[in-house]
């Protein structure tokens, strides 16, 4: 991973590649790697230094799995500059800082970028060494579309990972 700071937009995939649907963020970030004008970064563990990974004049989209009780593969876009995410204290320990806390740290340190959008995807399986579930895999083209629209990028054709497409979007 190398973050090319001169690039105007940054796609960050958050999650553990070895834990089922948690890999959706890294998988989507990989799809943007090498696209013109787009920097990518995969954050697989502790996120404490996340705010050091972007520049203030960058536009940033973070793709991350969520577990909210929504229907599997539901996609929720969140404007992280406009909304404060609830911080789960259990995700702040000596082993790491979670996404909401990392963004709040950036806010306190005045290190937020020009745009910060989170594309959250409802995940259902986090088993060690597990694969993406069928629902989340099938939703990947729609997730990519959300990222492109958030960043004003031209569409790039992405094949669904499975035959059927069941994803849906919830606007918040």
């Amino acid at each position: 991973m190398v973050v090319m700071r001169s690039l105007p937009v940054l796609v960050i995939g958050v999650g553990n590649r070895d834990r089922g649907d948690d890999a959706v963020g890294p998988v989507v970030a990989d799809l943007f790697a090498g696209r013109d004008g787009v920097a990518t970064f995969v954050a697989e563990g502790d996120l404490s230094d996340l705010s050091l990974r972007w520049e203030r004049d960058q536009r940033v989209v973070i793709v991350d799995a969520m577990s909210s009780g929504c229907r599997p593969a539901t996609i929720v876009p969140i404007d992280a500059l406009d909304e404060r995410l609830p911080i789960d204290p259990g995700l702040v320990s000596s082993h790491g800082v979670g996404l909401a806390a990392a963004i709040e740290l950036g806010r306190i340190l005045d290190r937020l970028p020009e745009q910060l959008t989170i594309i959250a995807i409802e995940a259902t399986a986090f088993e060690l060494f597990g694969e993406l579930t069928r629902e989340v895999a099938e939703a990947i083209p729609l997730i990519v579309d959300h990222v492109e629209r958030a960043l004003g990028l031209s569409p790039c054709e992405v094949e669904p990972r499975q035959e059927e497409h069941r994803a849906r979007t919830v606007d918040v």
């Binding site: 991973m1 553990n16 070895d18 995969v42 697989e44 563990g45 502790d46 404490s48 230094d49 705010s51 050091l52 911080i87 204290p89 259990g90 995700l91 702040v92 320990s93 000596s94 082993h95 790491g96 800082v97 806390a101 709040e104 740290l105 306190i108 340190l109 005045d110 290190r111 060690l128």
Partner: protein, 451 residues
């Protein structure tokens, strides 16, 4: 009997949420001990002003890594055991690699050995800095988290994050990613970095050095509770270098053994109140592993500059107050930075990034120094390289009896303290060790019962 309920994670105990009893019989209940990794509880019982029972109760389900290593190929523990921990996967990779290489009669030297030390430097920096900033410093400053510190001390927190990122960058460059590195294999690495690639780390490391010195001075100015114990400090000791991967297992009280002798000298036992085994030394009892132990056994192997800084901030060559481990972690971080710069400065890429490690039947042992202390591995494999047995003794299992001993001593000496203060200090006593109860969930409950 009074019952005290407080959420130690999001807010410290205050008199507002404490139901005080006017009698000597009080039960103090903390559903979540903040910022500690894993599922567990703490029970402290005081009868007539005397501590009668202290238990660190770990109820997180066992994960059976040793069992499911059986039957796997001898090349796999490097990757499988790395998943045991999200903050110290390098330690698991190194202990497993060294044990199996020893079993197979292979000793890795030269540039590959240096790269392994460099990888360990990255992990120590990541882990120690996260501990200092997000686990331990909030206790001394009266905040509930590192995030809360940021509001009042933004420059310090930004420095901590920058330091942490420097450690991440080392692990990512050598390991392929910042957690659970994928570039490590038996005999070395799948790919070795170029001099130019390693050179990109020099600037950040030089800046990190200055930041780290400031961090050491900052933490040394904290107000430390009084607690000194006559610990048996157990760590690796190498004749020429502050230990990461190699050395004999020694103590400040005369223990001096090879890793192959470790199980003859230590005992793991089940206790009713914990799903984690408790380790003790045969005929010697509980012992202490981690930064204070390494420091006590290897002070002379720190660089002269770090020894001088230690003296400047008031530390001698042995530190027996566990609350001061935050300062020692800072000194070890500084060592890791210096060592990383030394390795990068003299680096010549190896001809091949790894040496072959052909299987042979036998038993291999190794201990390396995880950020939290000695991490012991043993493997037995057959002639095809299939694993027959595996044994892993992590630092937290070794420190559990020591944590309980610290608590007993601290509570005994401080029964006069206000309930809130006693509770906070008990939690802090646990956090001194940064116990890693698990890497998956975060829950710990503290109960203090006075009768």
């Amino acid at each position: 009997m009074g019952r005290i309920m407080t959420d130690g994670t999001v807010e410290k105990s205050t008199s507002d949420n404490v139901e005080k009893s006017t009698s000597d019989n009080v039960e103090l209940h903390v559903p979540v001990l903040a910022r500690v990794e894993g599922e567990g509880a703490m029970h402290v019982k005081v009868v007539d002003g005397e501590v009668t029972d202290i238990r660190l109760e770990i109820y997180e389900p066992p994960r059976f890594f040793e069992a499911f290593l059986r039957g796997r190929d001898y090349t796999e523990p490097v990757d499988i055991t790395a998943r045991i921990c999200g903050i110290c996967p390098v330690a698991y990779q190194m202990s497993s690699a060294h044990a199996i290489e020893r079993l197979c009669g292979v000793q890795v030297g030269g540039s590959i050995r240096e790269l392994r030390r460099l990888l360990y430097c990255g992990e120590w920096i990541e882990s120690h800095v996260l501990h200092i900033g997000f686990l331990h410093a909030p206790d001394f400053l009266g905040y509930d988290s590192g995030i809360a510190i940021a509001a009042d001390h933004p420059k310090i927190v930004e420095s901590i994050l920058t330091l942490k990122k420097t450690g991440n960058d080392i692990v990512e460059l050598l390991g392929g990613r910042p957690i659970h590195p994928v570039n490590v294999r038996l005999g070395g690495f799948y790919r070795s970095p170029s001099r130019t690639e390693l050179g990109t780390l020099v600037g950040p490391l030089m800046a990190a050095r200055e930041t780290c010195e400031e961090l050491v001075r900052w933490t040394a100015g904290f107000d430390f509770p009084d607690l000194e114990q006559d610990y048996e400090f157990v760590s690796l000791r190498h004749p020429e270098e502050y230990p990461f991967n190699e050395g004999r297992i020694v103590s400040n009280k005369g223990l001096d053994i090879d890793a192959s002798e470790f199980e003859e000298h230590s005992r793991e036992q089940h206790v009713a109140h914990s799903t984690s085994l408790h380790s003790t030394l045969v005929d010697r009892g509980w012992y202490h592993v981690g930064p204070l132990a390494r420091y006590a056994n290897n002070f002379d192997l720190l660089t002269p500059g770090i020894q001088e800084l230690a003296r400047e901030v008031g530390l001698g060559p042995v530190v027996s107050n566990p609350f001061k481990s935050i300062v020692v972690r800072g000194l070890e971080t500084l060592y890791a930075i210096d060592e990383a710069l030394r390795i990068i400065g003299s680096y010549t890429p190896p001809t091949e990034p790894f040496v072959e490690v052909p299987p042979r039947a036998g038993i291999g042992w190794a201990a390396t120094e995880a950020p939290r202390g000695l991490l012991y591995h043993r493997y037995e494999i057959d002639e095809q390289g299939r694993i027959l047995t595996a044994q892993i003794v992590p630092p937290t299992a070794q420190n559990q009896p020591t944590i309980e001993s610290d608590l007993r001593r601290f509570v005994t000496d401080n029964l006069h303290l206000d309930q809130d203060e006693l509770q906070l200090r008990c939690e802090q006593s646990i956090r001194n060790y940064d116990p890693c109860i698990s890497c998956s969930t975060h829950f710990l409950k503290l109960t203090v019962e006075h009768q």
